[in-house]
Structure formats: structure tokens, C-alpha cells
């Protein structure tokens, strides 16, 4: 399993840059990955990230777009404003969760 140093911490990642162990995640890592995605994290972003981390902790899987909008109170439109192009994937990556599991 490849590792990568993000925000001064060595973490395990997969080929696509998703953390493979959510426990290794820190807020600093989130800020760093968000920067790579061209996103400056605001309070609105953190609301989504916090929700997604707790959803993943209880379900064992990264939340889908619909789970995020239904559960966090952020509308789909707003979510696309916060995390443009593929918010579910970006949220998962920034939140230190696995890539959302697509059913084949």
C-alpha cells in the first residue's frame, strides 16, 4: 500500500489519492487535500465534511451525494458550489474516506 506525506503526516493512500484509513485523517490533511482540489475550506465546507465523517463512521462507507444532501441539510446546488464537479468524490477524498463505492 503506497504512503504519502500530507500536511507533515505519513498516511496510507490508494492509487487515486484517497486515504485508506479514515483514522489517519486530520483537519490539516483535509485543508491540504482541499487545496490540491482548488478549494479553500469554509465553515460551509466543514459542515459537509463533519457530516460525511460521521455518516461513514456509522455506515462503514463514504456517503453518496444523496446521503449528503438528505442528511446535512445542504442542497445539491449548494454542494456543487462548494465542491464543483463530482462533489461526492471530492468530499470523500477531503474527508479522508474511501472513494464512494459505485455499484457495478
Amino acid at each position: 500500500m503506497p504512503t504519502k506525506v500530507i500536511a507533515g503526516k505519513e498516511v496510507q493512500v490508494n492509487d487515486e489519492g484517497y486515504l485508506t484509513n479514515p483514522a489517519e485523517w486530520t483537519k490539516e490533511i483535509a485543508i491540504e487535500i482541499a487545496k490540491e482540489e482548488g478549494i479553500e475550506l469554509t465553515e460551509a465546507h466543514w459542515k459537509v465534511i463533519d457530516f460525511s465523517r460521521s455518516a461513514a463512521a456509522s455506515n462503514g462507507a463514504s456517503p453518496t451525494l444523496r446521503t449528503i444532501t438528505d442528511g446535512s441539510g445542504v442542497s445539491t446546488k449548494e454542494l456543487f458550489g462548494l465542491f464543483p464537479k463530482g462533489p461526492a468524490k471530492k468530499v470523500a477524498r477531503i474527508s479522508g474516506l474511501g472513494k464512494p463505492e459505485g455499484c457495478v
Partner: protein, 412 residues
């Protein structure tokens, strides 16, 4: 007498009832099945309706013909499932149906009303679906007279039933318009919320390459937010616009309304289910099969065939108070029609994405995986006969439920 109840007499419910009937002692168990109507649709056949390859009569038969006479088959809407009381309330005669074991096999359906503008004035005018028999037939009528233009195929959101169907539709459309000598008048575009033609890397690349060869444009990461019918424009949440003359939509798929009414579903009315045991996450005398479950497996008939075996064995162990030892591995097998009497076959599971190789099917096989061949196409056509005559009736077919790597080629 104890009660074994199955909700839904579609592919999953029907396959299961034959198995349970063989296994349960008739002096101990009464088996009841409930469905809202008596039409058993062969859903894979919908794909062939728009192109005149099948007629509507080819894809429907009465459900009761496939249900053994000793089963108590009730035609009624289900008002409510009350899992904490182990009972079901039916609309018909306000019946209350108690159960000791319940199998939920209520399927999934399309919900175009979830997308702004989709089911409004353009619906069935120049916007169609092919996930219902009447939608697919209406699209067929439209295509006969269509003179060409921009044909846009869009998947609104995942999961959908038969995730390969939109790709098949596009490739069959390419063939259909070529045969009619008008392919040069039709622009084919596929807009998908995925980042490629398909979900997993190897198949996404292989299938994406096929689309490219057939001159089908691909618009990825496209999350449809609304349809502007005044301008014939599909608009994404991030404000990308795709024009169409004909929009073929795969709308949001959701589980049955009764799941929602009963407070048993997730945000799409799919029932939270243990992905290996196929037992409800919350109630230990409830099992969930097929499209109704929230598990990350394909919503497809072949998957159900592989699940049935696991569900039956687990239920029997559970009834005896034994540990459940049978685990579903997410096994799925799909033929992908690619036009010109050819098809591609993919075989995969939770932990193994579709890859190249061959599928060892006794007598008629092997079938090539992820490659276009004519024999794969015949396999697909043969499936309709196998479906009604063998699979539904629980007659054994040589398709093992466990995923196997035999014949598959792993890239180094």
C-alpha cells in the same frame, strides 16, 4: 402453522418461492406471496423494444403462471409492513398478514418526477425512458418516424437497475440508425454522473473505447439537475448544458413506496441489508433480495439467481437456530448487447472488477469476457427462454452462485 411471506412476485420472489416450497415442510409452513399486479415483465427485453427487435407481447407474462398452486398468492397493494409486530397490512379487504419469516423482494422503479422538468411537457413527446415496457414501446414508435438530430442518453443518478443498459441502448441505437441509412444524421451522446463509461477501471476503459469507435460522445461527471423543455436543454447542477432533440433518460431509481411508508428504507427507499448474509440490518426474521436491497451489487436478474441459493440456505440455518454460513460475494454476470448481433459478457463480484478472459459455460461456452462476439449475443437472446422456462421455476442451470476466477486473465 407458521407463516412464510414473500412480498413481490418478480424475478426474486418467484425464484425464491420455488426453492422454499421444496425445502419447507407443508404441514408446518404456509407460504404466502403478495404482489400488486399480475404482470411479470422480462425487464432485460425492454432494451429491444425501441428498436423493434422485440414486441411488447414478448416481454410480459402473467405472474400466477410461474407460482405453484400450493402457494397462497394474493394480489393486493401492501399498505404497511410492521416489522416490530411481525405483520403486514394489505389494502385488499384490510387484511392483516402475520409472518414468522418475511422476504422483501419489492424491486425498484424509475422516478422521473425527482428531476425538475423531466416529467413535464416534454415527457413522451421528445423525452422517453426505456425502463418501463410502455416507455420503451412509446420510444419505439417515436423512433420509427424520427428524422434524426441530437440523441442524448442520460443517467440521472446511481444506483440504477442494470447499469450496463444505457451503454447497450447507445450501441444498439448506433446499429439501428446505420441500418436505416441515417447514422450521419444522428449525434449520439451519453451523459453520466460517473467519471467514465462505466464504474470500474478495466471495463470503463474497454467499454469507453467501444463507444468512441462507434462515434458516441461521452460527457462524464454530469449530474442532471433539470430539464429546460422550452430550449430542449439538459442542465447539470454545475450549470453545464447539453442540447437534445431526443432525450432518453434513465431517471432516479427508487425502492417501493411501501418501504418508505413503513420507515424501513434509506433515502432512496432501499432496505439496509447485510451484504453477505442478505438479511435485514435491523430485523433478523427479514431477508431482502434483488433490487429492493441497498447492497453494492448490480440490480440485475443474474444477481438474484446467485442470491437465491444463499438466502434459502441462510434462512434454513436460521430456522434451526444454527449459525448462518453462506455468504453472497456480490457475483454478477451481464451480457452487454453491442449491436450488429454481437455482445460483450462481464462477470464480476464485490471484490473483483470485470476483466478480460473467458467464462466457462458448459456445453455452449466458453464466452469471451469484455470482448464483442457473436456467441455472446446468442447467449443474451437465449437468456429470455432460460429465464421464463428454467430460472424462474427454480430449475437448476449450470451457473454457480459463487464468483470464480477460472478463465479470467489478470493483468500484471
Amino acid at each position: 402453522m407458521k407463516n412464510f411471506v414473500i412480498l413481490g412476485a418478480g424475478t426474486a420472489g418467484t425464484m425464491l418461492v420455488h426453492e422454499m416450497l421444496r425445502k419447507l415442510n407443508p404441514n408446518e409452513w404456509k407460504i404466502t406471496m403478495v404482489d400488486k399486479d399480475d404482470d411479470h415483465f422480462y425487464q432485460p427485453g425492454y432494451l429491444f423494444l425501441p428498436f423493434g427487435l422485440y414486441q411488447p407481447k414478448d416481454v410480459v407474462k402473467p405472474k400466477h403462471k410461474f407460482i405453484p398452486g400450493s402457494v397462497n398468492f394474493i394480489l393486493s397493494e401492501v399498505e404497511l409492513i410492521e416489522p416490530d409486530k411481525n405483520q403486514i397490512r394489505l389494502v385488499k379487504d384490510n387484511q392483516v398478514l402475520p409472518y414468522d419469516y418475511l422476504v422483501i423482494a419489492t424491486g425498484a422503479d424509475i422516478h422521473p418526477e425527482e428531476t425538475e422538468g423531466l416529467k413535464e411537457d416534454g415527457w413522451r413527446q421528445n423525452i422517453f425512458d426505456f425502463y418501463t415496457a410502455d416507455g420503451a414501446a412509446a420510444l419505439g414508435k417515436f423512433l420509427q418516424k424520427w428524422e434524426g438530430g441530437r440523441l442524448l442518453v442520460n443517467v440521472v443518478e446511481n444506483p440504477i437497475k442494470c447499469p450496463v443498459a444505457p451503454l447497450e441502448f447507445l450501441m444498439l441505437a448506433d446499429w439501428y440508425f446505420s441500418k436505416r441509412g441515417m447514422r450521419n444524421k444522428v449525434e449520439l451522446t451519453y451523459a453520466t454522473p460517473l467519471s467514465g463509461a462505466f464504474t470500474k477501471p478495466t471495463s470503463s476503459k474497454a467499454l469507453g473505447g467501444m463507444l468512441e469507435k462507434k462515434n458516441i460522445k461521452l460527457e462524464t461527471d454530469f449530474y442532471a439537475g433539470s430539464v429546460d423543455t422550452s430550449r430542449n436543454m439538459l442542465v447539470s447542477f454545475d450549470e453545464r448544458e447539453l442540447p437534445y432533440d431526443l432525450l432518453v433518460s434513465v431517471p432516479t431509481n427508487k425502492g417501493a413506496d411501501v418501504i418508505k411508508r413503513s420507515g424501513m428504507g434509506d433515502s432512496l427507499n432501499f432496505v439496509p441489508t447485510k451484504k453477505d448474509l442478505l438479511q435485514s440490518e435491523k430485523w433478523e426474521n427479514i431477508w431482502v433480495m434483488g433490487d429492493a436491497a441497498n447492497i453494492p451489487a448490480s440490480k440485475a436478474g443474474a444477481v438474484i439467481h446467485f442470491q437465491a441459493d444463499i438466502v434459502v440456505k441462510n434462512i434454513l440455518q436460521h430456522m434451526k437456530g444454527k449459525e448462518m454460513t453462506h455468504k453472497f460475494d456480490g457475483h454478477s454476470l451481464c451480457y452487454i448487447e453491442s449491436g450488429y448481433n454481437k455482445a460483450v459478457l462481464i462477470d464480476f463480484a464485490y471484490e473483483q472488477e470485470p476483466i478480460f478472459g473467458s467464462y466457462p459455460f458448459p456445453v455452449v461456452g466458453p464466452f469471451s469476457l469484455l470482448k464483442e462476439t457473436t456467441i455472446n449475443h446468442w447467449g443474451k437472446l437465449a437468456f429470455r427462454f432460460m429465464y421464463y422456462d428454467l430460472l424462474l421455476k427454480g430449475i437448476p442451470v449450470p451457473l454457480p452462485s459463487r464468483f470464480s476466477m477460472a478463465g479470467k486473465v489478470v493483468e500484471k
